[in-house]
Amino acid sequence: MRGVIERLGRVRELGIVGATVVLFLGTGLSNSGFLSIDSFRDILLNTSIIGLLAIGQAMVIITRNVDLSVSSITGLSAFTAGVLLADHKGLPIAVVVVACVVLGALWGVVNGALVAYARIPALVATLGTLYVIRGVDYWFAGGRQVNAADMPSGFLSLGTAKIAGIPVLPLITLVVLAAVGWGLANFRSGRELYAIGSNPDAAVLAGVPVARRLLTVFVLNGAIAGLAGVLWAARFGTLDATVATGKELDVVAAAVVGGVAMSGGVGSAWGAALGALLLTSISSALAVLKVDSLAQYAINGLLLLAAIILDRLLALRVAARLRKKSRERSTETGPKVAEVLG
């Protein structure tokens, strides 16, 4: 006996799954190479970082907030990892990972404090820290570039290593996904995030420690972004101050495509991860389909829109069916009001 929300939610994610499958089959038809194990491996690898960020972002968006600074945090963390490894040969990788995660978490504290305690709308606060952190990154890097050659191959191999044929990076993402996904669905604190996003004022009256929860969410998201930075360093090897610039929109897009509504209270980490998978698969597919490079942006955007629209139509369908069935009387404007941003 599951609630309508979950039912809707499941359907939402089913929509994305459907779209992804269609994409793979379609591309596979014209180029079977796309369905090869090898290519799946690459797609998983490409998804792992954006996916990780999308999972974190989902938590934030569910509370009716958003964190645009993740791209900058990832960039800073990646460069930090690079410098640590390049300048202190023999520093254990674990230490570097922890350092970067902590770095991310600290910036998360800044975001969280601004949003939860200074009560700055998240978009403004994190757009601000997006600039600030990138500034710090530039200042820190000052035109320096860390190259694959400067880093221990033991670390770089993280980017390609496999366990039982599955690359490590996606595995890490999966672990985080499992943890976050489960927590959101099954912990009281997880449910309270939905409550906050669904009706912040009511959350206060219900005795939910809103500020504390928000702070936690931003810190977690920051930490995840920090981790993503390390993975980035391991995967791409060439690191400078511009790493991950502009990725924030992709991340948000992934979450939204994955059925996490900007108006809060709806969505799941799983959906966000699926959204990320769909988006990266799209760009990989385009590269494979010998699409003229210049047309790729256009098609990318088109498919993104298609995904959102499909998801929306499915949601509407279900809503209509529900209305007929159980005398559900949500107002005509209701769902749209809910969809309105913020």
Partner: protein, 330 residues
């Protein structure tokens, strides 16, 4: 409301003080700032941002957002170049350009109002789409040889005031009156705060939003014309990334991202503050990372300042106003 109004006023006031303050400081300390030619450089540099910020202000007040404006600019610019090469008259090209913008806006608007999709998601999508179409249109080429009369206009100025800025100013005044004094403007605010109640009051919610998205597109293409002419360069990648700058200006101007709250004078002041600081810092050879830094801090303080004020007030009256009132949609 009174609290809200004073909050707004206080914020606009603060911005104005900030603007004048930074202007005076720069005037006194940064050599080369005071020159009239510099003033017009300064203003010219924000002309596109100013143009695009005008409709975006209204869009954000209705609780929506349009991130595709910079891409619309790029697409329009690319089409201008294409048509110019094809030998059309520049005047007719301008007309077509505006139509292109209108169509781009219409697409956004229809997706948001008819399908009820979240505008953030939609316009992230069209951000990619329009930029892509720009590349499809003009590819890797750049078109440069535009008639001197028009490029001259775009770079020319009346006294120290560049002509594009004059254009923006006129449009801003019109938009300001519409937003703050007409039934249309009232409706915009009402539905920004509570879409459902507005709908119950017979306000044509969808039509208004659609109109605003179209306006946003048209202004973006207007900005594209200015941009293309003043750099006399039509390229597919023109204005890449400008959207965040515009959004930043709007938010700095005191418009609530959650809709309902905001004023045009505030936004325009915000745009100018950005312009002055950027120009002054560059003149003072402050390195680019500091520019990023300052932009960010400014943005944060734009809301931090008034919020701290209210927080302090609440401490005094010891009332627990539920936090995140900001957070309430509709």
């Amino acid at each position: 409301m009174s609290a809200l109004k004073s909050r707004l006023l206080s914020w606009e006031g603060a911005l104005l003080v900030l603007l004048i303050g930074s202007w005076l400081v720069a005037f006194a300390t940064v050599e080369g700032f005071s020159g009239t030619s510099n003033v017009s450089f300064l203003l010219l540099d924000v002309s596109e941002i100013a143009l695009m910020a005008i409709p975006l202000t209204l869009v954000v007040i209705t609780g929506e957002i349009d991130l595709s404006i910079a891409s619309t600019l790029g697409l329009t610019s690319a089409i201008i170049g294409k048509l110019w090469n094809a030998g059309l008259t520049i005047e007719s090209i301008f007309v077509i350009a505006l139509c292109v913008g209108a169509v781009c806006g219409l697409v956004n608007g229809l997706l948001v109002t008819r399908l009820g999709l979240p505008s953030l998601a939609v316009t992230i999508g069209t951000l990619a789409l329009y930029r892509g179409l720009a590349y499809v249109t003009l590819g890797d080429k750049a078109v440069a040889d535009f008639p001197a009369v028009y490029t001259g206009w775009a770079t020319g100025s009346v006294g120290p005031i560049p002509k594009p800025i004059l254009l923006a100013a006129v449009l801003a005044v019109i938009a300001g009156v519409i937003l703050h004094a007409t039934p249309y403007g009232r409706s915009v605010f009402a539905l920004g705060y509570n879409e459902e109640a507005a709908y119950f009051a017979g306000i044509r919610v969808k039509r208004i939003k659609l109109g605003l998205f179209v306006a946003s597109g048209v202004f973006a293409s207007l900005a594209a014309i200015v941009y293309t002419l003043r750099y006399s360069s039509a390229r597919a990648d023109n204005g890449t990334g400008l959207e965040l700058a515009v959004v930043a200006a709007v938010l700095l101007g005191g418009v609530s991202f959650f809709g309902g709250r905001g004023t045009l004078p505030g936004v325009l002041t915000g745009v100018l503050v950005f312009g002055v600081l950027r120009n002054a810092l560059i003149l003072a050879d402050v390195s680019n990372e500091v520019l990023n830094f300052v932009t960010g801090l400014l943005l944060i303080s734009s809301v931090l300042a008034p919020n701290l004020a209210t927080l302090v007030r609440n401490r005094r009256s010891r009332t627990l106003t539920p936090p995140l009132m900001e957070g309430n949609p509709s």
